[in-house]
Symmetry: C2
Subunit: 125 residues, 2 copies
Amino acid sequence: MYVIEQARPVAMSLPGIEHATWVGHDDGLQQLSIWRQSMAPGTGTPPHSHDCDEVVLCLAGHGELHVDGEVHRFGADCTLVLPRHRTHQFFNVGEIPMETIGILGATPVVTRLPDGTELDLPWRS
Amino acid sequence: MYVIEQARPVAMSLPGIEHATWVGHDDGLQQLSIWRQSMAPGTGTPPHSHDCDEVVLCLAGHGELHVDGEVHRFGADCTLVLPRHRTHQFFNVGEIPMETIGILGATPVVTRLPDGTELDLPWRS
């Protein structure tokens, strides 16, 4: 399957996060997983890291990236760059849903809490 | 640098293609390179492959993907999935610029012509 229509994100068991996996291992890839997400105002992720590089394209909204003890504000038309193993958190600090495309340099994607425990994500990665 | 503003594509030495590298090896990544491109109506790429997985998000326009002896039409809101080493060509078959985000599962990216010759791209990858 070389051409796939892009799905809208839908509600997941993680509160405030809607998600659609656009492409990954199930589509014949070995190095890329791409996630379309929408995060509700006032919500955020737990601190976590991945065993692979991550890039987030912000399409709409206003967010904060917490990493290395620093807070970075971002908005639509920003690219977030997270080399692998970098513990980070995203927050929607605006008043509209924060729309993003998450690009991960592996598939499946390994996600870890700060103590190294592997986090079992509620979507295919 | 964790947050980068997204640049507009600019003219390159490849005819009909405007390009901006949004993120790659120079930004501290080892597994991802992301390219924003605009292809003029009536133009296309030569047949080529990459040594890594590639995913293309089509943002606007109408294109054709030629791969495996087949022609696949695509438009805005389509995702193209190209496992590594798959020789392919993109064409803009519409009347407006074809706007894409190219996501490559390596950085730098190795690009080859069908005879295996490495193609020297005119942008950082």
